[in-house]
Symmetry: C2
Subunit: 326 residues, 2 copies
């Protein structure tokens, strides 16, 4: 895991990777070692509603803080996992929740800010997949789908033992495949998307529409619906079952298309545990019917809130010419 890079006239031992995890709420940065451990970290709130240069300055502050570390000189690569869509081929990002960044040339700007470090850009779902494959629930699986079920539904793929970001870094975007071609319009413009049925806000919306009443604290989140489901509320249970059915159809479609053998579920809704996973596993037997997908298993994610940083580091490492097993 130690590589040598020539900088000027010196041959330096460089064994760390710099990582950025850029979302609509926060911009996190870290120095990560070859075992996925975070040795330094920095973080700023994302000034999501401000102009693009202001957002970039927050990134530069995070990078500056990392560069102040005595460990910085050991970093020879930088990985970025960003809220999507991203365009890895162009080096640009257009996060839905950061309107000031549309086609923003993030790769070039980060390369410049770091004095020329090689930069690898992937979507946030792909980053989390890289982390779960490297250190988490998909470790040892050559063909895996990792998902984040939360405010949105995202994901990423490992195929033939390697991360499959696709040419633009967005592959595995299971939240926006349609499993109900005549279904409800989705904000993306399509209909019946997995996210339109299975995301946290949609679980809560459906429960409320069908008569679920929140508790005295007025909490109408998916977590509150999950608590009601655990207490036996049939409307709450039904809303999670419908989400599970949509997730199962999407997971089965993915397995039928690319032959994955494990699906890893993370994110806030994923934390609902058996309220989601039990009906999901049952529904999977309805939709994953062909012989070659019947051994598919579904497990909870293992990586925590650092998954985006660890995965961005993993993706950067995986692009090294001598990469193996990341």
């Amino acid at each position: 895991m130690v590589i040598k890079l020539r900088r000027g006239d010196l041959t330096l031992m460089t064994d760390l990777v710099a990582a950025l995890d850029i979302g609509g709420t926060k911009i996190a940065g870290a120095l990560v070692d070859g075992d996925g451990r975070i040795l330094e970290r920095a973080q700023r709130a994302t000034p999501a509603q401000q102009d693009g240069e202001t957002v970039m300055r927050a990134v530069e502050v995070v990078l500056g803080e990392l560069a102040g570390s005595p460990l910085w000189d050991r970093a020879s690569l930088l990985g970025i996992g960003s809220a999507g869509p991203v365009d890895a081929s162009a080096g640009t990002v257009s996060p839905v929740n950061v309107p000031g960044w549309r086609g923003f040339p993030l790769v070039e700007r980060v390369r410049t800010a770091t004095g020329g470090l090689p930069v690898e850009l992937i979507g946030d779902g792909v980053a989390i997949t890289a982390a779960e494959h490297w250190q988490g629930a998909a470790r040892g699986h050559d063909n895996a789908l990792c998902m984040v079920v939360s405010t949105g539904v995202g994901g990423g793929l490992v195929l033939n033992g390697q991360l499959h970001p696709g040419p633009t870094g967005n592959a595995g975007h299971i939240g926006h495949i349609s499993v109900d071609l005549d279904g409800d319009p989705c904000p993306c413009g399509s209909r019946g998307c997995v996210e339109r049925i299975a995301s946290g806000p949609n679980i809560a919306r459906r429960a409320l529409e069908q008569g679920w009443l929140p508790g005295p604290d007025g909490d109408t989140s998916a977590a509150a619906v999950a608590a009601a489901a655990r207490a036996g509320d049939p409307v709450a249970v039904a809303s999670f079952e419908r989400a599970a059915q949509a997730l199962a159809a999407g997971i089965a479609a993915t397995a039928t298309l690319v032959e994955i053998d494990i699906a890893v579920i993370g994110g806030g809704v994923g934390k609902a545990g058996d309220i989601l996973l039990t009906p999901l596993r049952k529904a999977l037997t309805d939709y994953a019917t062909l012989s070659f997908v019947q051994r598919l298993t579904v497990v909870p994610a293992q990586m925590g809130t650092d998954a985006g940083l660890v995965g961005a580091a993993a993706a950067a490492l995986a692009r090294r010419p001598d990469a193996a097993g990341v």
Copy 2:
């Protein structure tokens, strides 16, 4: 494209690939050169309803005929594309339409029958994809979906410039992803599969159910529905539009999951041409909405009835250690 293999004490020039295309109707064999040209061929009807050994004897007759060619000694590899499901990892096949073969050890039997040639097994949809990528409509595309829309709906994937058969050789099986999770039961056990909506028999069934009347010849095939649609019959047009919608949802799902940039449509229903392709391209704008899938194009297949043989040869060549560009 010329490789050297040592056989006994001789170093032979071997530049051909033997290929088998095994379906429910016929068993075809060929010797194929490094440019995808068929130099010898043999064929027998599939004794599909007879016992497994009888079916295998038909395969052996085809192989025997090829082995009688003076070119046979130049073949150093053998590729099989078979009706699915197949299990490339176990070397077995279980074609739906050949009940005498369930988990039949086809790879071992063909290896024995050919005196030990290395054998590569893939599903028939994967084989056709290999052919379209090597010689046909997907040539030059690093990320492609190729489909056969016919009595069934099958397919295969090219990812990162290479055929993606998946661990068992069945990847790309788009006919059995659900695009209508509450839809009609499919014989596979799932609901609302692409095949259940878009296959030839389902196009014809839907047209008949909704009042389409066949012509004086009594032809109720999808081809007859296509002819009626071309003549302006609104029920026939609507049945093709519904098939196009399901295919579009499936193609968009595939693009969203793995980032393909071209979808190639072959098979008998594919031959309906603009009656299918025009509404399909229109529906694709409804379902392929994310920025990274909007440049996706849909084109007709270019390979003819030899696609299965040429693709089986391509898949065998692609597994050679020195393979490049097949």
